[in-house]
């Protein structure tokens, strides 16, 4: 239960953070030529933007919650669980950033989530097998 709640909060924080960062980075005026050069002015613009700071804090929160769950569970379980974030990210981009999202992009998101669910099922199965193997034999143990 605590892992599920932690991961749900982490995922929301991540989507919020990505959305804010995207908005912030797009809004920076001097950014048109980023692909050609990175100037000191650009770095100052980035550091001075409040959306960037809040977005970064949100991602920091995601990271703290993510690390916390890693102390409880395997990476191969936690990472797939956080993949539900992809659906949330695309939805946020669509509703808050008005980014166009094509059908193939939605379909791709669905495939990613399906694949990652399979991965987490395999992790759960492996755990099951492991706990069955280490169960002490009942009754006839010779000490």
């Amino acid at each position: 239960m605590k892992t599920a709640i932690t991961i749900a909060l982490a995922v929301l924080a991540q989507a919020a953070g990505n959305t804010l960062l995207s908005k912030g980075m797009k809004g920076i005026a001097s950014l048109g030529k980023l692909q050609e050069s990175i100037s000191p002015m650009l770095i100052l613009d980035v550091l001075g933007n409040p959306l960037i700071w809040i977005g970064t804090l949100c991602l920091g929160l995601f990271f703290a919650l993510f690390s916390l769950s890693l102390s409880w569970e395997d990476l191969s379980l936690v990472l797939p669980a956080t993949s539900i974030g992809y659906v949330v990210n695309v939805a946020f981009a669509h509703y808050f950033l008005q980014e166009p999202v094509s059908l193939s992009r939605w379909a791709g998101t669905g495939l990613i989530v399906a694949g990652v669910i399979l991965v987490s099922r395999s992790a759960a199965q492996a755990k099951q097998r492991e706990s069955e193997e280490t169960l002490p034999r009942s009754g006839l143990g010779m000490s």
Partner: protein
């Protein structure tokens, strides 16, 4: 071309970072939520763990590249495009963390790849 390079950097450093973070957190052990005072002690342990710190540096590299590419690409393209990190991370988990990767997990990984390919279509 630049976008693809950035995605490569984001993915590789993110996957490596996750693997090292996991290594560090496992060394520290399960963190209990019931004792608030202990949390500070644990935070200290986390902050001084070498694997965790290495993982953190790698994630910082990934994050910087991510910020940069967000300025010229749509978020709803970049975030799914970098989902191939799951595949790379599973490989890292297999070879560095020595986790067992069965057929179901590989299949799931292939679905992720297919989903990513769909994402990258214009």
């Amino acid at each position: 071309m630049m976008t693809m390079l950035m995605i490569g950097i984001i993915v590789l450093s993110n996957a490596a970072g996750d693997v090292f973070i996991t290594k560090g957190m496992k060394q520290i052990g399960e963190i209990p939520l019931t004792k608030p005072r202990r949390l500070w002690l644990t935070a200290g342990k986390v902050a001084t763990n070498r694997n965790f710190l290495l993982g953190l540096c790698l994630l910082a590299v990934s994050f910087a590249a991510f910020l940069a590419v967000l300025s010229w690409e749509d978020m709803s393209f970049i975030v799914p495009a970098t989902s191939v990190v799951y595949v790379v991370t599973i490989l890292g988990a297999r070879f560095i963390l020595k986790e067992h990767i069965d057929g179901l997990r590989w299949l799931g990984t292939c679905l992720v790849c297919a989903g990513v390919a769909l994402m990258c279509l214009p």
